[in-house]
Symmetry: C2
């Protein structure tokens, strides 16, 4: 049976969030063990003008809930982007996962040709559903999960590829 | 029409390599402009025990050609991992793209249930085709493309999300 739009989106995001959550747990444990301020780690970034760890988690959340909602043609929950601690980032992930779990396969399946208009700042990008999923949502989701991992790895947190891929 | 295994793999990799190639071009241009040794940038990494830029490109290449070959049930070309300059990394990408372009949709389509055995060091992981693509190959490919981007971004190269997503 060919891949469905649902299978290629929601379960992929859920798997990614489970892995991201475990990576964040390792970040918090590292801060505790090393006597590092965990809130400073939440603000860590790879370079001054790039989003910190908190932003990476927020953008992964936005990408996943935005993708599911746009493909399903439903409203998405709006979150405040005020997370500043590891528990708050975990809560952001939990709320995103809870929303994704309300979206049923039949709402997303068949959305290959659905028009999706994405607005970023002053620009708009028009996609068909399939192109939106494969050229925007999946690459963008993995970008932010990977960059969250890369920030923690850069700061010395002992995470490895197995954590990212979820082979526990 | 539902997504096919081919559409969800080879064109996604080709798009990713086009973007990665453009990102590497910006890295080389940055080195030239700033009087930085470009070969040192190819060896740059986020932390001592993580793979440098060259490894990230090599692993993106391995993931993409390995995915296409395993799903198609064909042999994959073996490359030496000896790239040490930007032109050599571009050549690695070109050789990977050339292989991907030889794989026809009908070789990959229908591979959803194909058994895929992945060996990493002493461990083996058994997947079905669909799970291999969605839980291993795509996340791993984007991991290495993003980490290549993150290394260059960390070193000050002026790349942005548009470069990564390929909105030129």
């Amino acid at each position: 049976m060919p891949l469905s739009m649902y299978q290629t989106s929601v379960p992929v995001f859920l798997h990614g969030f489970a892995n991201l959550s475990a990576i964040l747990d390792k970040g918090l444990a590292f801060a505790d063990e090393q006597g590092v301020d965990p809130d400073a780690l939440v603000q860590a970034r790879l370079i001054e003008d790039m989003g910190p760890l908190s932003s990476q988690v927020q953008r992964a959340s936005d990408t996943a809930k935005g993708c599911a909602a746009r493909l399903a043609g439903i409203d998405m929950p709006s979150f405040e982007d005020n997370e500043a601690t590891f528990p708050e980032l975990q809560d952001r992930i939990s709320r995103t996962v809870a929303f994704l779990q309300t979206v049923r396969p039949e709402q997303i399946d068949g959305s290959e040709e659905r028009d999706v208009l994405l607005t970023a700042g002053k620009q708009s990008f028009a996609f068909r559903g399939q192109e939106f999923l494969l050229q925007h949502a999946l690459p963008n989701f993995f970008f932010h999960v990977t960059t969250a991992y890369d920030i923690l790895r850069h700061k010395g947190v002992p995470v490895g590829k197995r954590d990212y891929l979820g082979r526990r």
